[in-house]
């Protein structure tokens, strides 16, 4: 765990800007994430942290700046004199290297758990069926759901669905995992099981960017915390420092508010 400055960053965002109908959501974000690093994005709702995460795998198209993943410019071709939007299939190829876990799980409801996990490896990577199933079973045992492979998502609890969603993303062997508030839609007693899987993943050295409100998770698991507000990065630094000794007033207020909520 822990990135070093001389390694090449997995994610390099430079001056990223994004607006929705004149509402500026991101106002020049600069961020580098190094291999094996776990970065938590914290901030009040509307601060742009989810939008930034979605920009990394092009679920949102950025209006300004550049995002590089593993040295490759995301969503655009800059080889010619003019920047060009990438085609649908070229973007799909770039997304293969990035796993994403959504707040609302977004499992495919018409497929069983196993089918959910093997779908992309079979369809996109062209993995042999037997190999895909073997890998899916490994992943299911990692997230503790080996007995659920024949179930449909609607038969699982929220926590179980989210763990399947993590396994589904990992089945593509991504270089980077993005988590968009993975525990926000869960009943409180189900949050722990999902965080446990994420903690295991972090210990295995996966590079992770996590948008979350789980301060304890950020403090204990993240290498670095990035605090965003109003579309800019307010401050960032080692997780424990930022959470226990925030330098900025906005960070202090946010942490005080959220910690009092979570203490209830």
């Amino acid at each position: 765990m822990g990135g070093t400055e001389d390694a090449r960053p997995i994610v390099r965002a430079v001056n990223v800007a994004k607006a929705f109908h004149h509402l500026e959501v991101l106002k020049g974000i600069d961020l580098e994430v190094y291999p094996g690093e776990v970065v938590c994005l914290l901030g009040p709702s509307g601060s742009g942290k989810t939008t930034f995460l979605r920009c990394i795998n092009m679920l949102e198209t950025i209006d300004g700046g550049r995002i590089f993943v593993d040295g490759v410019l995301m969503g655009f071709d800059d080889s010619g004199p003019h920047l060009r939007h990438l085609s649908d299939s070229a973007k799909s190829a770039q997304r293969r290297e990035i796993g994403m876990v959504f707040q609302r799980f977004n499992l495919f409801p018409h497929m069983t758990v196993l089918e959910n996990i093997i779908e992309a490896p079979l369809q996109v990577r062209g993995v042999a069926r037997d190999a895909a199933i073997a890998r899916a079973r490994d992943l299911l045992s990692m997230v503790g759901l080996s007995d659920k492979e024949e179930n449909y998502p609607s038969q699982l609890s929220g926590g179980q669905q989210q763990r399947v969603a993590i396994a589904r993303a990992l089945a593509m062997d991504p270089k980077l995992m993005l988590f968009d508030e993975p525990t926000s839609a869960l009943d409180p007693e189900l949050v722990g099981e999902v965080l446990r899987v994420m903690r295991d993943l972090a210990e295995q050295g996966m590079t992770m960017i996590v948008v979350t409100h789980e301060i304890a998770f950020a403090r204990d698991v993240a290498d670095r915390v990035v605090f965003m507000d109003g579309g800019v990065i307010v401050e960032q630094g080692p997780a424990r420092d930022i959470i226990t000794h925030p330098r900025e007033e906005r960070t202090r207020q946010f942490l005080a508010r959220i910690l009092s909520d979570q203490a209830e």
């Binding site: 959504f102 977004n106 018409h110 993303a169």
Partner: protein, 317 residues
């Protein structure tokens, strides 16, 4: 020692044994219905003009059966296949970001929804034969290019003689299918829009292209919404094949029934025979519809097999 003895029966009420609400009017309705049904059955059995044995005989007449298979059923199948494929295509066009495709789809739907099927079939029957007695499939403008370049070939791959009588059913099914596509497009569009946006995002995030996402993720889920109204459309199509006579297609159930009736002068039993066939075909389709609804409802409906059996038995879904 029971609970009531400990706490006293008055303070802790036990098992409820209450009389149900009475529904006297239900019994009145049942009585009226029983009498009406009995009268109908009595008349059906005693009035010799119903002539049931002749009805059964007509149902098995060769021309009637041929009309049923080669007109009504074949026409329905062809028209619905065409309508379904074109309809989904039109729906995808309508939802695309390309303004040309969106416009074409909207105009198509407007045009075919505005024309009565009987009129459409008449016009196609007359029009295609009048305007294009020979349809050729080949290079666009192949004829003109060949003439311009003084070539002997016309780049024709396939020729279709529209005047041939056996092609009537093709024109008829084409007309019904084109008209059906306009309705199916709206149904398919509603189905596609019913799928949660998060499904597209999840598929894209896994590196699936838009086309693959549509085929593997969106359409299978949209089918759950598309199947019930499509079943209704199919059942309506069975009945609309009686309009094929406008093309004209002679080999069709009701037209054949009319021919038999005119020849034998036993008109009513022949029409009853045709009606019974329509009832049978539509009933079979309704069974098929409920099977398809269960098939595409996988993962959405009740989680255990027992509940699914119960659901299918009540026809609820």
């Amino acid at each position: 020692m029971t609970v009531s003895q400990v706490a006293g029966a008055a303070e802790r009420p036990g098992r409820i044994d209450a009389k149900p609400v009475r529904h006297p009017w239900r019994w009145v309705a049942v009585g009226v219905i029983v009498i009406v049904v009995a009268m109908m059955l009595h008349s059906a059995v005693t009035n010799p003009k119903w002539d049931w044995s002749y009805v059964i005989q007509v149902m098995n007449y060769r021309p009637i059966l041929q009309g049923l298979w080669e007109g009504t059923i074949l026409g329905t199948v062809l028209a619905m296949i065409l309508g379904l494929i074109f309809g989904i295509l039109l729906a995808i066009m309508r939802l695309s970001t390309n303004p040309v495709l969106r416009g074409v789809s909207a105009v198509y739907t407007w045009f075919f929804r505005s024309i009565p099927r009987y009129v459409l079939l008449t016009i196609l029957g007359v029009g295609i034969v009048f305007l294009y007695p020979k349809l050729t499939i080949g290079l666009p403008f192949g004829d003109s290019i060949a003439r311009l370049l003084h070539l002997s070939t016309t780049f024709t791959l396939f020729t279709f003689d529209t005047r041939s009588v056996s092609q009537g059913i093709v024109i008829g099914a084409l007309g019904l299918g084109l008209s059906e596509a306009a309705y199916m497009a709206e149904i398919a569009r509603a189905g596609i829009l019913s799928v949660d946006r998060g499904q597209v995002e999840a598929a894209h995030a896994l590196g699936m292209s838009s086309a693959r996402t549509m085929r593997r993720i969106i359409l299978p889920q949209a089918m759950r919404v598309i199947v019930p109204p499509t079943g209704n459309e199919t059942i309506a199509m069975v009945k609309d094949t009686s309009l094929l006579v406008a093309v004209p297609v002679g080999m069709e159930l009701f037209n054949q029934a009319q021919i038999v009736a005119n020849r034998t002068y036993r008109i009513m039993p022949v029409y009853v025979a045709a009606t019974l066939w329509y009832l049978i075909v539509c009933s079979v389709l309704m069974v098929g519809q409920s099977y398809l609804e269960r098939r595409f409802g996988r993962g959405f409906s009740a989680p255990n097999a027992k509940a699914q059996r119960l659901l299918s038995r009540t026809g609820e879904h």
